[in-house]
Symmetry: C2
Subunit: 127 residues, 2 copies
DNA sequence: CTAATCTTTCCTGTAGCTGGAGAGTCAAGG
DNA sequence: CCTTGACTCTCCAGCTACAGGAAAGATTAG
């Protein structure tokens, strides 16, 4: 399986697959004589695993940890849970910040008449 | 006023003030004979304006637009409002995505016992 | 006068890719 | 056999919004 098919199967751009190999996250098992990367089923599964974890907002480093736990049959679910719980906490913190921001900005937007005249509570607030 | 005092007055790191000058966002009015940037009150006001806009999550390019509207005494508040409203829409979209993500991840975390055993719904979901 | 603090420019690195150049490889069609 | 088009390779640059650090000059306090 060449990189193109592997990328399609995993749902990732070819560039990204190559990038993951460069940083040692998911490397192709071997190369052809002419230097083409060959991917097997296991590698494709790992790529797809990473894609889903990335969709969940896990960082590359978190993905690396999750991947090694994924590979480790004697892992404890507590280890995985700890990573996910920490990530969940980050997301919730981000949510709180975003909510505060939104509320304040929404106030400004509704306060601004948005007409031809120059007076604008939004700029006033920023000044 | 040297860059250090200006940065303190505006609540920004010196590095950031220099960066804003480099990208032509807020430039120091002039330089001393020995090359030191001199900032005046107006420049400091602009720096503080940008800092607050950045706190609101506006991008540098949005700040550039807001700044030119801020400077333009014949601006219409509608122009400002349009930028803010667009940004608000982005924030709300981000909020929706984050909420969906959080809910799904929270489900997984609660589903995982987090003990010494290897079976883990989180990894199962990612695999 | 000296030591400490500021300031300058320039270069590098961050996260996570994406785009492009230029060159080589492969499979199919004529 | 040749060509064409699709695929792949490596390397380099750029994106956001700065942060860190080196080496050198400027300024200020004691």
């Amino acid at each position: 399986m060449n990189i193109g098919s592997a990328a399609r199967a995993a749902g990732l751009p070819v560039k990204t697959v190559r990038y993951y190999a460069d940083i040692g996250l998911v490397e192709a098992p071997d190369r052809t004589q002419t230097g083409y990367r060959r991917y097997d089923e296991a590698a494709v599964r790992k790529l797809a695993f990473v894609r889903r974890a990335r969709d969940f907002g896990f960082s590359i480093e978190e993905c690396r940890e999750l991947l090694s736990l994924y590979e480790d049959k004697s892992r404890s679910s507590a280890d995985v849970r700890a990573i996910a719980a920490a990530h969940l906490e980050e997301i919730e913190e981000k949510q709180r910040q975003l909510a505060a921001l939104r509320d304040e900005l929404a106030l400004l937007v509704t306060a601004c008449r948005g007409d031809d005249r120059p007076d604008c509570p939004i700029l006033d607030r920023l000044a």
